[in-house]
Point group: C2
Chain length 143, copies 2
Amino acid sequence: MKLFVLLFALMLVSPAFAADTEANKKTVLEFYEAGLNKKDFEAASKYFGPKYIQHNPGAPDGTEGFKAFVNFLKEKFPNSHSEIKKVFADGDFVILHVHAVREPGTRGRAIVDIFRLEDGKIVEHWDVAQDIPEKMPHNNGMF
Amino acid sequence: MKLFVLLFALMLVSPAFAADTEANKKTVLEFYEAGLNKKDFEAASKYFGPKYIQHNPGAPDGTEGFKAFVNFLKEKFPNSHSEIKKVFADGDFVILHVHAVREPGTRGRAIVDIFRLEDGKIVEHWDVAQDIPEKMPHNNGMF
């Protein structure tokens, strides 16, 4: 009995139990691959919850906005590719550090995407994007 | 004895025990406030480990590069302010979502900073920054 109380207390204090961060990471990685790389809105859309609150300053709100973005990529940049460099999770949030290249051979952009999940589904998104410059005052790169 | 084995196993699998994420968050928040808002390099520098690997594409490498940036802010943008909107931690990493305003009254920029810590000290930094546009196709803002 004492053991159960202790285990329950540990579950309460440990973020690993409070939210299934590993499952959330997997969900976001599969969503990203389907939507951004395969450019398959239908495949990506199964990861959405009942809403998709968009904070990207160029994209319309909701899943329809994401659909329009995926179709834009498919039409204008069919060879665009997003390489995920780092994946983090904390509570209901998953954070990606991404190297996004729209035209192969170009330097592309550094992006950080932040996703919020509810019950294992994606419901909100923020991002920040920056062009990778030709020259930097160090040799460490942006990743 | 069984209990100790169980607790030890839980410590191994739980990220909450693997790295002191809450202490790392506190360290990065204090570092940010001292360096970016108070613009006090000496106060900020006590949070650095034995190295500071810089990935910001405009800043020179190392703590000297950060010192130059703090002094640049102090001289050119003494009223600049960074408001931290979200803080995440995963393992040895701390991630900040920040609204940075160089001149009060301007829209400013959205920034995500990623810090890596070793033994509780800051040793590496990446960031991505984007100007906040005047108009967006939704009312959700960038934060």
